[in-house]
């Protein structure tokens, strides 16, 4: 149960003269929910982009399920390995329906070529449609399946983005500020939801989030970044007590 799912060593990302991530170590073990927090511009999303292959890290290594991910591996291949992600600013396929959004995520696991797909020679299309419908049903989105993604209210768009990421059959899911723009009620529902999908789909979760209630409630461990550097790591209780974190990010209780 405690095998390492994601193991980042000495990750460094420089953009010209700016060091966005500086020598970061980070480990996520199987079944954990790990949070990555820190002030705006601390380099959290850059870490996600390095892990998912959007950026090629300047230095350091990333291992997934014990195997190092080669430099220059493209994002699609990394998703295929089993790392799914959501985006800070929602990135759905806006002109497509809810159903189609989920189906796109199934494409890479279909055994087909352009001919068998166009002429429906194998039953792959039917298989993934059934899978996608089952997923939508589990997620309570089935009644919206023919709705254009862009017509959904904000909260449901967030939900769909996570459902779509789940459709790629991930081992590890990276959530980039899933609670952004949500009210306290929605945020606490989201907390429950994340814990629920972790159990149901046997997921490991790495989450970037600014809502401290949510972070403290669901995280097993927390990493705190500031100016690209790791300034603290530990359990929620340890982080809340850590003076450096309070100074850099959390602040004193009454000015939040």
């Amino acid at each position: 149960m405690s095998g390492s799912v994601l193991n980042i060593k000495n990750l460094t990302m420089r953009f010209g003269g700016v060091t966005a991530v500086d020598n970061l170590p980070l480990e996520v073990r199987r079944g954990e929910i790990v949070a990555l927090i820190g002030p705006n511009g601390a380099g959290k999303t850059t870490v996600f982009n390095c892990v998912t292959g959007v950026y090629e890290a300047t230095d350091g290594s990333v291992s997934f399920l014990g195997k190092p991910i080669a430099k220059g591996t493209t994002p699609d291949k990394i998703t295929k390995l089993g790392i799914a992600r959501t985006f800070q600013n929602i990135r759905l396929f806006s002109t497509m329906t809810v159903f189609e959004n989920v189906l796109v995520a199934k494409h890479m696991r279909m055994r087909q070529n352009i001919f068998s797909a166009a002429f429906r020679i194998r039953k792959e299309e039917q298989r993934v449609r059934d899978e996608a419908l089952a997923l939508l049903e589990e997620q309570g989105l089935l009644h919206l399946k023919d709705e254009a993604a862009s017509n959904l209210p904000y909260g449901l768009q967030r939900h769909l983005e996570i459902a779509r990421a789940l459709a790629t059959d991930p081992e590890l899911i990276l959530l980039d500020e899933p609670a952004a723009g949500m009210n306290p009620q929605e945020t606490s529902e989201l907390a429950e939801f994340i814990q629920q999908i972790r159990g149901k789909y046997k997921l490991t979760v790495l989450i970037i989030e600014h809502h401290m209630d949510l972070v403290m409630q669901i995280s097993d461990r927390i990493y705190v970044l500031d100016f690209g550097k790791l300034i603290a790591t530990g359990t929620p209780a340890e982080i809340q007590e850590n003076q450096r974190v309070i100074d850099a990010y959390l602040g004193v209780a009454d000015d939040a």
Partner: protein, 368 residues
């Protein structure tokens, strides 16, 4: 689409083909209608293939004329009868290619040649985005045009001279004992119909879905495990294949082929059809094509030759005025129908029914 809707659609298509067949047997072959139908069908195919790339995959490519050119030449080169080659290739000792292939094989070869060249130039070009891709593909088409006119390639391409004497649409007419069964419009319609049907199958497949996902958001598509390059290349190759077939059909329609005719203006015409019909609408491209060809070849002819809609004004309506009016119409469409006639919707029985239902439902005074 429900079963009944599918059934009605098929029935309507069969009816369309039947009407064309009957018209061809009854009207004179020289009727303007047939020109419009033939050329319209060819442009419909090329427009749909361009729409697959520009409308469905979101790749702004302007290489269509180049791929049509390749298709037209491959078709011409491999179908000119052997005994006619000496006269066609008169400056090149009858050319080097001394065999012909059956028409259907030549059509497939035309598409395949265009697809192969697309696969090659796609390697560097598809890494570019939006405007840059447009410039690169436009440049490719111009280069193709120059290469095929190159004197050194004369034994194959006949240099800057015409290719002619290959089978044309008129060869589809069947003459039996003094009576002619006219098929010169029907057969191209069938070929185009089959091609568009295949493109629609691709669009409706898992691949088509991925193409649209790439159009909507490249980075999200990539995060869903979609290889951007492989799928862009695939879309480009499929689109070019059918542009090549379209080029071959255009050669058959024109009866002669000359590289110099495949100018960028041809690509713009097709782009115009795609935009008028609606980016992301197959039926839009088809309707747009016939409207465009009918307007430019037929309905607006009078503007060039003295009298239009019964108004005789030779001072105003003279050579070139048609293009002025045409430009104004296009500007109006782009200004007021920005999404084209169909938007991203498809023409359907249900759609028409809904349209009329809305039209005849009394509007409620207050909203909701």
């Amino acid at each position: 689409m429900t079963k009944t809707q599918k059934f009605i659609s098929v029935l309507l298509l069969v009816a369309l083909y039947a009407v064309i067949f009957v018209l061809e047997q009854t009207l004179a072959p020289s009727e303007m209608l047939f020109t419009v139908l033939k050329k319209g069908a060819i442009y419909a195919l090329v427009a749909v293939s361009m729409n697959l790339l520009n409308g469905f995959t979101g790749l702004f490519s302007l290489g269509q004329a180049g791929f049509m050119l390749i298709g037209a030449y491959v078709y011409g080169i491999f179908t000119i009868p052997i005994d006619a080659r000496a006269s066609v290739y008169q400056y090149f000792d009858g050319g080097v290619i001394q065999f012909t292939v059956p028409l259907v094989v030549a059509l497939i070869m035309a598409g395949t040649a265009a697809a192969l060249i697309a696969a090659l130039i796609g390697l560097p070009v598809l890494r570019l985005k939006s405007d840059y891709l447009a410039i690169a593909t436009l440049g490719f088409a111009e280069i193709m045009r120059a290469i095929l006119q190159w004197d050194k390639l004369g034994p194959v391409t006949n240099g800057s001279n015409l290719l002619r004497k290959f089978p044309t649409f008129n060869d589809f007419n069947i003459v039996t004992g003094g009576k002619t069964i006219y098929m010169s419009t029907l057969v191209p319609f069938i070929i185009v119909g089959v091609c568009i049907f295949v493109i629609v199958l691709v669009i409706n497949s898992s691949y088509g879905r991925v193409f649209r996902a790439i159009r909507d958001d490249e980075r999200a598509a990539e995060a869903m495990g979609v290889s951007l390059f492989a799928h862009k290349e695939l879309s480009f190759v499929i689109s070019s294949f059918f542009a090549g077939v379209g080029g071959a059909l255009l050669a058959m329609y024109q009866m002669t082929v000359q590289a110099s005719a495949f100018k960028a203006a041809m690509t713009y015409e097709i782009l115009l059809i795609v935009v008028i019909g609606g980016l992301g609408s197959v039926t839009g491209s088809c309707i747009g094509s016939f409207l465009f060809i009918a307007a430019s070849e037929w309905w607006l002819r009078g503007l060039d030759s003295g009298s239009f809609l019964g108004i005789s004004a030779p001072m105003l309506f003279r050579a070139g005025f048609r293009k002025v009016v045409f430009a104004v119409i296009i500007m109006a469409i782009v200004l007021f129908y920005r999404k084209g006639l169909m938007g991203a919707n498809e023409f359907s029985i249900q759609g028409i029914a809904n349209f009329f239902k809305k039209l005849f439902t009394p509007r409620k005074r207050s909203a909701k």
